[in-house]
């Protein structure tokens, strides 16, 4: 464990990163050299009014600003960092005013005005940034509620999808298997009834009924989750859909792991419906399916080379959009330049 912690920063650090500490050191060294030279020049020339102090002032300003910014950007991102950067700029301006006042020989304390006005502005900014969220607990409460609801809805939908797959499996092992066994027993009975054709006919009809029930259960199970999707995952299921399409379909899939069942099923139906549409309106033109992941999102693209002009408000696509939006995803349908239709869907997925 400890070795991992030690190794990580080394591994993550890009090799060609600028070393700001070294830059600063170099800058200080050069500045010191320049100061030495000017003081020497001042000594060997007039030695009157100590003008090199303005050179020192000019050289000190960038160094101070740099130190202040470096301090500020080490703060955690978000409000603290923004506040620190604004504070650093304010501090530098105040310091510069004070330095000019001191170097120019004092007198009327004019820096009061710029410092007071920028100070007021900074104070107001700090209040807005730091205090406001605390002053509006309702907004914060709502924010937390929304994120909680998003999380629980996703969880509920996923539980539902997993439950449906379990039901599908139970149908397979339970009712479907029993009906198959029944149909088999009836078949054996039929074989022994050769001498009684009327009874054999009744048994045959009973067997056919069992067959119809099996077929209905099969359609039902397929609607829940096609077996190839449950067995082999999204890429294989998309390939299978491609093979079933009347037009040539190519599938490119780059998925490192299987998404949650609910996301997988939604993605499957996006591909299925899009290919059905492409088959219906594409006039047999080829179609391409692209499955990839980017930034924690599953991207599904189905492109056909048909005439385009898909009706995005049709029932199929609308149903699909609702399914995708329920998972906080997006679905767009667009015409491709040069012909064809592109269905683009994105689904967030906690891998």
């Amino acid at each position: 464990m400890s070795t991992q912690v030690e190794e990580q920063p080394v591994a993550e650090k890009p090799p060609a990163r600028t070393d700001w500490g070294a830059v600063l050191a170099l800058e200080c060294a050069i500045s010191a050299l320049i100061v030495l030279i000017t003081v020497f020049l001042w000594g060997v020339t007039t030695a009157g009014y100590f003008w090199p102090m303005w050179v020192i002032f000019a050289l000190a300003v960038p160094i101070v600003i740099q130190l202040a910014i470096r301090w500020a950007i080490r703060k955690p991102p978000g409000h603290p960092r923004a506040l620190a950067i604004v504070g650093a700029v304010f501090g530098c301006l105040a310091l510069i005013d004070l330095a000019i006042y001191a170097l120019s020989g004092g007198g009327y304390f004019w820096p009061l005005w710029p410092i007071a006005s920028t100070g007021l502005a900074f104070g107001a900014y700090a209040i807005v940034v730091v205090a406001l969220p605390h002053l509006r607990p309702r907004e914060r409460e709502l924010e937390e509620r929304v994120s909680e609801l998003t999380r629980t809805r996703m969880g509920a939908l996923d539980v539902q999808a997993a439950e449906l797959r379990r039901i599908e499996r139970d149908l397979h092992d339970g009712a479907q298997s029993r009906l198959v066994a029944l149909s088999m027993q009836l078949g054996r009975a039929e074989e022994r009834l050769e001498g009684q054709p009327e009874v054999a006919e009744l048994v045959r009809r009973a067997r056919e009924e069992a067959g119809n029930a099996i077929a209905e259960l099969r359609d039902l199970a397929r609607g829940i989750a096609p077996p190839v999707l449950a067995d082999r995952g999204l890429a294989a299921a998309a390939e299978a859909l491609g093979k079933r399409s009347p037009m040539p379909v190519t599938v490119d899939a780059e998925l490192s792991q299987r998404p949650l069942p609910v996301v997988e099923t939604a993605a499957y139906f996006v591909v299925a419906e899009s290919l059905t549409n492409a088959a219906k309106h594409g006039g047999g033109a080829p179609a391409h399916v692209d499955l990839s992941e980017h930034d924690g999102r599953l991207i599904i693209e189905v492109r056909d080379e048909g005439p385009g002009g898909a009706d995005a408000s049709g029932t199929g696509l609308t149903g699909l959009r609702h399914r995708v939006e329920a998972l906080d995803g997006t679905l767009t349908v667009a015409d491709v330049v040069g012909g064809g239709t592109l269905v683009h869907a994105e689904l967030p997925c906690a891998w």
Binding site: D173, V228, K243, R244, S245
Partner: protein, 220 residues
Amino acid sequence: MRVVIVEDQALLREGIVALLREQGVEVVAQAEDAEGLLRIVNGHKPDAAIVDVRLPPTFTDEGLRAAIEARERWPGLGILILSQYVEPVYTAELLASGEGGIGYLLKERVGEVRAFVDAVERVARGGTALDREVVAELMRTRGGRPGDAALDELTPREREVLGLMAEGRTNAAIARALVVTPGAVEKHISSIFGKLDLPSTDDDHRRVLAVLTYLRAAGD
């Protein structure tokens, strides 16, 4: 003819064994998972294995995978897959798995006792026995898609005949299904053999080759 059966559900497995024994088929061993399949095929060297697609431990497609592996190890082993679904991906993998009899039937076909026993025998002899649903699915797939040049030369009627051959039907059965004379069916079949440029060995073998050419092209 010696067969083995791999099915995890005891009710079905025992039912199939009883049914086949009643019909005079010699069932030499049974197993309930994919490992069991490899073990009993190795031990008994059967003519054919009847295998359920979904087997423990994951209940996905390990029956199919194990059957394909068995076929690689023991070329010529007939494989009859039983499944509750028609899945073209699985059929295509099975068809690509090398020499030997091949069958893919929906489980409920077991109830059509005579047809089921015929299918088992055909697969054990190196023929094909594909469910009519499988063939229908493959025909739909091939629909308007350009494919193998030789296959594209077939007339729609010849394709229909080839589809029925893939199900494993006899010429007489094909003639009945299409409401034509057996003579017409024979003409179609010899035309198919000619177009697919199949060697004139025995008719059974050519039949298998024609069907495989057709099915493999459809599965690609």
